[in-house]
Symmetry: C2
Subunit: 480 residues, 2 copies
């Protein structure tokens, strides 16, 4: 075994080691089921510390390449997912277009209300992965002790204690803001809605990546906005050259992106790309609405990726996020950091919903301050990385040859491209008869592109039901 | 004393007796501070039952005409408020106009954030009048027991148990609907917002009463709507003849009203007027968005007034309400009953905020089912009637001669018209220096009419602070 160390500044030794091992796995030098050298042996072999090897193994595990078997050691995971290619991006941007995905979305999700349905399509997190008991207990506790403050309106910008916690965490991620820059909202969707309303008028054009989360497309549809869809790469997100070209050609009122672990691609824009995009938009004074709800769910060890907001010098980036993917979707607690548009967002929030519910804000604030949020996030990220790897493997194993699949480095959704000619809407319709619900590609585009793509969620622990459902989906896909 | 019984079908004996006594008070035959005959004596005098007399006295008390002194009997209350005239209505409708009250509202309320301010302007209910402890305890209880259902999304149309309670209560008020007709929302404001978005597009004209709650005007401003302001009478609400004339002249997309105890007038449209309005709009297929948040807060005994929705035969009335004025504003639980626009409202709700927070819905549902909501409402109504009477008296006593004041039969806000030439904005500015905040008339109109009017809230128990603040306001008003 020859392991050549890659070089490069500002990378940790364990990252380099992990990359080398990943390279060997990719080349087939290490194969599915192979046992990796023991930590001690590799440490001697490579003249690195035991802790460096351990960190490298943790990293590989988080990437879904390696699994630990108790009392036995580290093994190369089944690696079919890595042999599959990533889905392709469209080559061209669309013209600005009115959105009308709502009918299709309603049709797709109408069926999903059947409680016996296996929901492989919805980007919902299993409550089993959330600190359900702990957050509910905190809500119970503040409800018992808050007295009249608990029933009173909390008018915008929202609960000061929560805004302080949000600002503190943002600062840790390179976003230098204070509590006064934050407006709390009913989840990230209200934050996106308020930000869009603050900087656009009906008929305006908003630049988005494609594919994009259908909820965002529906929101734009409901606001009478036009969308300009710019192709995104499954690894690195929106194409900056095509973005630059589109900005030259179109009058764009705002840009709305999910730069860290986009939905459905799972793409992560590199730091330099985020920085370049922010600068490009700033030159034209175009606001960037940044949806960061998946940003805390990175699989790589170390700090989370910086939001694009970290590179915002002119107050043009409007950061939106929530605790729906990490704590409690049903609490509906989110926020916006709207930069120079803060006052407009605050007023729109008042006009729209008066204020965010008081006690849920208190409970989330309390959890952030005292609940071990970081410890919880670490556990959650490990679980999601493993689930994403497992679901990827199963898809590659059971779907027809030539199926492509994304390799997200965070979040919990997978984007699957079946071979040409296989219809995602057909797959969706037939799967429903087997009580399996998936999200077909066309709902992720105003142009209803992506006819052979589906989104599959890995937001639930692996189970026989999930296993059987993926086997069944694969069968249907082969038969299409 | 001669008491002649008025006649008329479908009126209770006690109502007739109360009206007779009220007539004697109005004529001065019974004067402030006079002791009324004992229940037993009046019962003998009038050959009616003791319980009829008691009910009449309760009714007079609820109207603020009579007060009970423990161990002593019933007395005619200080009656200055009744000698004051009601505020005048504008004589003409406005032309349809874009709204821009937000700047003025922000200026008015910016100062109100000072916690040392006495907030006589805000239509907030004192938590002391709400079942604070009981509703918070219920929330604590559902948070402890709901488990994963408590952290999960509750997607539209909202929690079934809550929708059933809402439908059951609506049926009691003459609105024949089922749980499936209800969409839960973040308070009445989100319900109004969703309904407006479902039936209007930016630039459309919406017919409203004037004066109208500034929050509604701000909402329309944020949606780019034009408003057509139709004068409302402080007693009976929007002028139907002027409404009919406006409908002939203008292309109206929707009508948004508060038919029961409007804000700021406190007007109650009689049943026949509601019915006529619904029919008039139905002939032109114009949706009526009915804001009913004060409808449960009637001062007269007996059932609450019917919502206009009770007369809706074509699914054109979109009923909106919440529990913010009766249970817990900070819970942000409200609802829409959007008639034939139900599906659009449900979809917009999903696009806008995904779903209403789960546990607050559970707590409110539990309170409605088991919490003695009706008992609480009875207590609340009595308290508000007394507070409204008391604040009215104080205003008439201390404000300059010629001041007019509304006589609401429900809700808890008063509309005060100072003599011509007295500026409400001046009063507002000077009062702020004394740490008193009121709501000046111009914020209640897109045309910024009502320059000498103010809204004063009676949503808080009487106190020395309130007393002193009204004395001070009166002084300032005299000096203007």
């Amino acid at each position: 075994m020859t392991l050549a160390l890659a070089s490069g500044p500002a990378r940790h030794l364990y990252e380099e080691l992990a990359d080398d091992l990943a390279g060997l796995i990719a080349k087939g030098a290490l194969r599915s089921g192979d046992r990796l050298p023991s930590v001690r042996r590799l440490s001697l072999q490579r003249s690195v510390s035991v802790s460096t090897v351990l960190q490298a193994y943790v990293l590989l595990e988080s990437r879904g390449l390696v699994e630990t078997r108790p009392q036995s050691g580290h093994y190369v995971r089944a690696m079919r997912a890595l042999s599959a290619e990533e889905p392709r991006s469209p080559r061209r941007s669309s013209q600005a277009t009115r959105v009308s995905v709502s009918d299709l979305v309603a049709k797709v999700y109408g069926a999903a209300r059947d409680p016996s349905m296996v929901l492989l399509g919805a980007a919902h997190m299993s409550p089993a992965l959330l600190p359900t008991e702990s957050i509910n207990r905190r809500l119970a506790s503040v409800a018992r002790t808050a007295g009249s403050a608990g029933v009173a309106y909390d008018i915008p910008p929202g609960l000061p204690a929560l805004r302080r916690q949000i600002a503190r965490r943002a600062a840790e991620n390179g976003v230098a803001i204070g509590a006064d820059d934050v407006v709390t909202t009913f989840g990230a969707m209200e934050a996106l809605h308020l930000c869009l309303r603050a900087v656009t008028a009906p008929g305006d054009t908003v630049l988005v990546e494609t594919p994009a989360y259908y909820g965002i497309l529906q929101l734009m549809e409901s606001l009478g906005l036009r969308v300009l869809e710019i192709p995104a790469n499954p690894g690195t997100g929106i194409d900056l050259e095509l973005t630059a070209a589109a900005l030259r050609e179109h009058d764009v009122a705002a840009c709305l992106l999910v730069p860290s672990f986009s939905n459905p691609l799972g793409a992560l824009m590199p730091d330099e790309a985020k920085q370049a995009l922010v600068a490009m938009l700033a030159r034209r004074e175009i606001p960037l609405i940044e949806d960061d709800i998946y940003g805390d769910l990175h699989f790589d060890p170390g700090p989370r990726p910086r939001p694009a907001k970290a590179y915002d010098k002119q107050g043009l980036v409007m950061l939106c996020s929530s605790f729906s993917k990490t704590l409690a979707p049903g609490y509906r607690v989110g926020y916006a950091v709207p930069g120079r548009f803060r006052d407009q967002v605050e007023r729109l929030k008042f006009a729209q919903t008066v204020g965010t519910a008081t006690l849920p804000q208190m409970a989330v604030s309390d959890f952030l301050e005292n609940g071990g949020y970081d410890r919880h996030l670490r556990r959650l990220r490990r679980a999601l990385a493993a689930q994403v790897a497992r679901v990827s493997e199963a898809i590659v194993e059971h779907f027809p040859p030539g199926t492509r699949i994304s390799r997200p480095r965070g979040g919990f959704v997978l984007w699957v491209e079946m071979p040409p000619g296989k219809s995602a809407l057909d797959l969706h319709a037939r799967a429903l008869r087997h009580k399996i619900s998936i999200a077909p590609g066309p709902i992720f585009s105003a142009k209803q592109r992506f006819s052979s793509c589906i989104r599959v969620s890995a937001g639930f622990p692996w189970s026989d039901t999930v296993d059987r459902s993926i086997v069944r989906l694969g069968q249907i896909a082969r038969e299409l």
